[in-house]
């Protein structure tokens, strides 16, 4: 047992000696939590709207005003020159343009259904789609007022009213969803990168030979390397969770104990991946690139910010191979819905199986030797 302890002590010393590393492990994640937790919003606001009013009548001005007053649009200019639309879009100053045709007011009064054009910059397809939806809403509202002013309003039939209830997150704050997600990303990134690079480092700077001549067995060496990172990762989890709950007011509905237990299971996966990467890489640079590669794959296909339900069916099936997917769902369900273990088994079991497979496969592959 003793050799492992001294190995662990050595690793800890190496980590704590390096102030820069401590800063990166413990301080930077907190900053990320604040910044990134607030960054994600697919809500589309402040769309830059150019009004091209070729009619200049009272009616056209009213329509332009309706757009200006609507949430979601910022009017950036009025013009009568249609050429400025494309010009503005190329310079990213304009995202959409409302083109009101000549004779709009007269045709409207005469009931001749004039055509209004909405020119949209389609480069960001998502925003463009949302912008069109907003515009339809504005137009429906305008129609309602217009008809009301002329006494053409719907007299006898009554409309419905939507009574909405937003469950689990009544204020619709995306932080609640993103911060637990960032916790998962950190718990993947740190153990994977740190363990893989630390294992490769010994080989790269030539200290692996020194370790080889010690009586440490391969398993003792691995344990000595992994236990410090396991402890560091747990400390990271505790710190980040505490900060999320205490300072960022992320409600934690579930049990901390359950979160810690399942995180421990998940760490087998990420530490296992770390060992696996170290068996593939010959330099720390390589280890870093392979880890980055795994990371991007896991983050993209883990439901962190791209909902898995939106993906094509084939890719959705592929996400079942991604261990992060399970822990992401578990963490969010714990934080937001207070799920109990029996509701989480569907995720926890595959996660444990992946962890066991990846970890044992990597340990078998790992060689305590040079070259």
């Amino acid at each position: 047992m003793l050799p492992i302890l001294s190995m662990i002590r050595k690793e800890f010393r190496q980590v704590f000696r390096n102030r820069q590393m401590l800063f990166l492990i413990f301080f930077v994640p907190l900053v990320q939590l604040v910044i990134l937790g607030n960054a994600i919003t697919t809500e589309v606001k402040h769309l830059k709207l150019l009004v091209v009013d070729l009619d200049q009548s009272r009616e056209s001005a009213a329509l332009a005003r309706a757009f200006a007053a609507a949430a979601g649009f910022d009017v950036v200019g009025h013009t009568q020159d249609q050429g400025r639309i494309k010009e503005g879009m190329k310079a990213w100053r304009v995202q959409l343009a409302l083109v009101i045709p000549p004779r709009f007011g007269r045709d409207l009064g005469g009931g001749r259904q004039p055509q209004v054009q909405l020119v949209v910059d389609g480069v960001d397809g998502n925003s463009a789609g949302v912008a069109l939806g907003y515009a339809r809403g504005v137009v429906a509202g305008f129609a309602q007022t217009w008809a009301g002013e002329r006494g053409l309003g719907p007299a006898r039939v009554h409309p419905t009213r939507m009574e909405e209830q937003m469950w689990y997150n009544p204020e619709l704050s995306s932080r609640q969803y993103m911060v637990p997600g960032i916790v998962v990303v950190l718990l993947t990134l740190l153990p994977m990168m740190l363990s893989s690079m630390s294992l490769v480092r010994e080989g790269e700077i030539g200290t692996l030979e020194q370790l080889m001549v010690t009586p440490l067995t391969k398993y003792q060496l691995l344990l000595g390397k992994l236990i410090p990172f396991l402890i560091l990762s747990c400390a990271e989890l505790a710190l980040v969770t505490a900060a999320a709950v205490r300072f960022f007011d992320i409600p934690m509905q579930g049990s901390y104990l359950l979160l810690a237990g399942l995180a421990l299971v998940y760490l087998f996966t990420t530490l296992g991946l770390g060992i696996f990467i170290s068996t593939l890489a010959r330099s720390q640079q390589q280890a870093m690139f392979i880890a980055w590669f795994f990371m991007v794959f896991m983050v993209l296909m883990g439901g962190f910010f791209i909902p898995i339900e939106n993906m094509p069916p084939l890719l959705q099936k592929l996400t079942y191979l991604n261990p992060m997917r399970y822990f992401m769902a578990i963490t969010r369900d714990l934080f937001q819905k207070g799920a109990s273990l029996d509701l989480l088994l569907g995720e926890a079991v595959p996660m444990a199986v992946f962890g066991a497979l990846i970890f044992s496969f990597s340990v078998i592959r790992f060689r305590k030797s040079v070259g």
């Binding site: 919003t41 020119v119 949209v120 990371m295 991007v296 791209i306």
Partner: protein, 370 residues
């Protein structure tokens, strides 16, 4: 000057051999962008499709059934009939079988005739706030459609015709292929440079370089040149795959794109250099470079999420992310055919950023060495 050229060349060659030394590095450097591009191109779809909607029609009258049919008719929802009220919805949400529920009260038809407004209950699983907002908006649209169909809302007295420019089919790959280019370029340039110099420190070979007659700026240049080459190969690869596989259009000028891409690569390299002057180990350099590039580029640059929708302080922080400017450039040139005069503001921003980063990095580097 001739000697300087030779020394830089020799250093660049050494660094290049370091990269080539192992085919695995090159394999990763060229495979990774392609895999990421394909994944981004196919997986990234922020639009929600097919939301499971639990429907409890407690009224069960012609009017309520017509409302249910209107929901069924919109391609957005997949209906899931249920009998129970709120408690059953609770289990449906908890097990993830449904993400929204529509509850039509028993007195729906009666109230529809008598009262000025009839409530319909819509429950949404809002754990993903963004998805919830979209689902709510869709529900409101369907209800509006239902009311207009019954003549309860005024018809629109004019026609609104949308015209979508630059990307008429609203394909998300057009948006993301240039985005992946911005991401890969900044990461390869910043990560590789930061680690390249730190490696010399860590393995003690920087001293050897120092006692050689090579000047600090020559070391920097020699170190950086191979990575500029690599970054360009990667950019060309991404662009090629993007044009061929996703048929992304190329409407602008190639030379403009090459010029501004060089500027962007320089910005990222300067960032990497700056990190390498501070970091003592490769681990630190890599973590710092990753922290400074990966998540900010993905989340704050407008790669996926529109900057204008972010809270004000974050919009200010995003001004420090180089990819924010390059995205305007690369998307503008590729998709819109923008010219330099239209892209002047982001170009100037990148230029200023490079100047600052490079000056600080070289100062620090020389100071350490002397």
């Amino acid at each position: 000057m001739r000697g300087a050229g030779r020394r830089v060349g020799a250093l660049a060659r050494k660094e290049f051999l370091h990269i080539l030394y192992d085919f695995r590095t090159l394999f990763i450097l060229f495979l990774m962008p392609v895999v990421q591009l394909v994944m981004f191109g196919y997986a990234l779809n922020m639009e929600i499709q097919q939301v499971e909607l639990a429907v409890a029609d407690q009224s069960n009258t012609p009017a309520s059934r017509r409302l249910v049919e209107t929901f069924r008719g919109s391609s957005f929802f997949r209906l899931l009939p249920t009998e129970g009220g709120a408690d059953q919805v609770q289990t449906l949400f908890a097990t993830g079988q449904a993400r929204a529920a529509l509850i039509i009260p028993a007195d729906f038809s009666r109230r529809l005739e008598r009262e000025s407004e009839t409530p319909v209950q819509v429950l949404v699983d809002a754990s993903d706030a963004n998805a919830a907002t979209l689902i709510r908006n869709y529900c409101a649209q369907v209800l509006l459609e239902y009311d207009q169909g019954r003549g309860a809302r005024a018809p629109v007295p004019f026609e609104m015709r949308p015209a979508v420019l630059f990307n008429p089919d609203l394909r998300s790959s057009f948006f993301f292929v240039p985005g992946v280019m911005a991401m890969i370029l900044v990461m390869i340039s910043a990560l590789l440079t930061s680690v390249a110099i730190t490696r010399e420190k860590e393995s003690g070979t920087l001293e050897q370089l120092l006692v050689s007659p090579v000047r600090p700026w020559e070391i920097v240049l020699g170190k950086v040149l191979p990575y500029i080459g690599l970054a360009f190969l990667d950019a060309a690869l991404i662009l090629g795959v993007g044009l061929l596989l996703f048929s992304v259009p190329f409407r602008g000028s190639l030379s403009l794109l090459v010029g501004l891409t060089t500027l962007y690569v320089l910005t990222a390299l300067s960032l990497g250099l700056l990190i390498s002057t501070r970091a003592r180990t490769q681990q630190v350099a890599m973590m710092a470079a990753l922290t400074a590039t990966l998540l900010p580029t993905v989340m704050l640059s407008g790669l996926i999420f529109p900057i204008a929708s972010m809270p004000r302080p974050l919009q200010l922080i995003s001004m420090l992310v180089p990819a924010r400017y390059f995205l305007l450039i690369v998307r503008g040139v590729l998709l819109k055919g923008s010219g330099l005069e239209q892209l002047l503001p982001p170009t100037l921003a990148l230029g200023a950023m490079t100047l600052v980063l490079l000056t600080v990095a070289i100062r620090r580097f020389s100071a350490r060495l002397e």
